[in-house]
Amino acid sequence: MLTKLIVYAAYYLKSSETYKNSKLFFYNLLENPSSKSKPYFDMFMTGLIVLSIFFLLYDVEYEASAMGGYIEQAILVVFACEYLLRFWICSDTHIIILEEHEKSQYLNIEFSFYKALKKAIAKKFEYVFSPFAIIDLLAILPSYRPLRILRVFLVFRLFKLFRYSSSVKLFSDILASKRFELLTLMMFTGFLIFIASVSVYVFEYPEPESKIKSLFDAVYWAVVTLATVGYGDIIPHTVGGRLVTILLILTSLGILSFFTSILIAAFNEKMPVLRENRVYSELERYKSFIIICGYGRVGQEVARQLSNDGQKFIVIDKKALNVELAKRDGYLSIQNDASKNEVLLSAGICRGASAILCVTGDDVTNVYVTLTSRNLNKNIRIISRTNRHDNVSKLYQAGADHVIRPFEIAGLLAAEFLGQPVAFEAISGILQNQADIVMETVLVSEGSCLDNQPISKLELSDKKLSLIGVISANPIHFKHKNKYQVKQQHFYFNPEPKFILRNEDILVILGRKYGIDYFRDQIEKHRLLARKVL
């Protein structure tokens, strides 16, 4: 009967939205490292800990004040609540019970409630005995009156601080990565301390002047000497003792330098990973960015232009020299192989990247990166560079949207310059936004004042703009002459005055930048006004 009731209650909890939501809320607050509320909560808790330590120190020297006592109590309540909440969210008891229940039903055996409960409790205990939970508990318990002796454990509250900062975790990770070396060193050190303390004990104990009265004194002396601290409160008086000291000091110098070098090496190994993580976490803040693979001459030029536009991007390059250059230019960059899936994934190819540029100098790398990127993300724009004509089709096959050949473009420019230098300078100036005059597009949106209007009505020449043509995918325009197929659309060059614009058409306009902006503004204003009237 009781078992049935508990299973029913577990089902009820599982289906309850409020229960799930509140649990999720506290999970986000306390544990979820990527939630927004956690940093604030961590800061608040850190403040409380500092405050409680302050009161503890105050009490040591002065009489405890009533006010301080209340605050202390309040802080304690917060700590206790936090502990209980963490205890609550560490595992889902009702789910464990239900799993057991369903399993037993499936296997057609009798459901043993105690077995399920045991499993659930074991799970909870797993949390209780985790280092952080023990620290939490030790920070609360000493305030309970009968346990006042444990007051010294209040210092554990300081350890609680570790929970709220990630740098300690980092430090312990680094130490853990050198586990083998540290363990070897520790064993050797222990051995040395043992030998040194035993031999100094043997030499010094019989000497009446000597302060070494027990083996503990000898160990204490050995550690103080080994650490090169040497207080001088215990000094050897016999020749044997002094010989031991000399040997111990010489060896300890080696041990200390070995220890330091292990730590430094571990930090150095971890540094690139740390830097990379920083880059990734910065990248996570951007909603849309571009991945540039390869920071050679082409990559540098694109990066410069993009940063002028305020566009966010990340540079990936295999060569340390190029990454160094990108860093010096102030761009986000990682030194890694862009053809690896995990590198592209952690650079956010499926998350916020809008385009990927494969612009290394090596065609093989470009093809490979293109293929990898297309595999990972079907919709991303891929622009690739190649040096050889034969590889253009390979890149398109690999999934590139655009393929660029530096020498083709340069060759074209040189040839055009030879034939008609003036015209070419003009058009390349316009296309590259170097001149005052720019060429831009204006979209005809539904219900705007351009929709269903003939071009003669636009009076573009009065606005000091000239219309080069119209881009449209609309088959209604097919009868017009001068159409050029451009991918799925048509470009209508120099359309007649009676050409009627339709929704989704794009005007290609030449004019001053602010002239075009003004034109766009007016269209937008007109559209908003029209909507208001409706």
Binding site: V298, H402, I427
Partner: protein, 234 residues
């Protein structure tokens, strides 16, 4: 026919040579590497194997006399600078177009006397930027003006005694009469600067002005022919 000397036979020069009209330009490929020369000869180009460091050799291929345009397409910037310097010393009016590998060499080439400096990587970078930022316009130009479709950019000089001299821009009506778009006019007497038609409003055309027009090549040819007419067609 214009005489063009191409120094350095490599990917870039092949691109350029393929784009130039064989009817209009007579080309000679010059290199100091024997294999390059052999390759160029196999591809049917007029070649010369000379040392570009010696002025007499340069003179022997016609620099300072018959050559109008010089392409410096060596892969080393220092070689291009040297060639530009020597060629400029031989001929003040030579049209020198040079390629650069590193951006800091551009200034050196300019000082050495190059008319046009081409940085393939910079152009490529700009192009990628254009594709990202203005895909529509880049697409159109790639397919039309720079691509296979017949839409071209042209410059038309107004010759002496042309009927167009002393007419006004507004009288041209290029877009209705010829299906051409007039982008701008360069007034050679004033400066090399292009004056955009949309900017300037109406102005009178002079002999020697250059009209920059955009349109199908048939229309451009028709317009060019018309311009050379001495009398107004009216």
């Amino acid at each position: 026919m214009k005489q063009v000397a191409v120094f350095g036979y490599n990917r870039l020069s092949i691109e350029v040579i393929n784009r130039l009209d064989k009817q209009q330009y007579q080309m000679i490929v010059i290199d100091h590497v024997a294999e390059h020369i052999q390759l160029a000869e196999e591809n049917g180009f007029q070649v010369a194997n000379i040392d570009f460091r010696i002025d007499d050799d340069l003179r022997s291929v016609g620099i300072g006399s018959s050559i109008d345009t010089l392409f410096c397409f060596f892969e080393e910037d220092s070689e291009n600078v040297f060639l530009t310097l020597s060629a400029r010393a031989l001929d003040k009016n030579l049209n020198i177009i040079a390629i650069v590998e590193t951006p800091e060499s551009a200034e050196k080439l300019r000082v050495a006397g190059a008319n046009k400096i081409i940085d393939p990587y910079e152009i490529c970078g700009r192009k990628i930027h254009d594709i990202l930022k203005r895909p529509d316009i880049t697409n159109i130009f790639d397919h039309t003006v720079f691509g296979r479709d017949d839409l071209n950019l042209a410059e038309v000089v107004i010759p002496e005694k042309s009927y167009l001299a002393n007419t006004y821009v507004s009288q041209l009506q290029l877009n209705t009469q010829y299906n051409l778009i007039l982008i701008g006019i360069v007034n050679k007497q004033v400066s090399e600067q292009l004056n955009f038609v949309v900017e300037d409003g109406d102005r009178r055309l002079n002999v020697g002005d250059i009209l920059v027009i955009l349109g199908p090549s048939r229309e451009i040819r028709a317009f060019k022919k018309e311009v050379e007419n001495e009398f107004s067609k009216n």
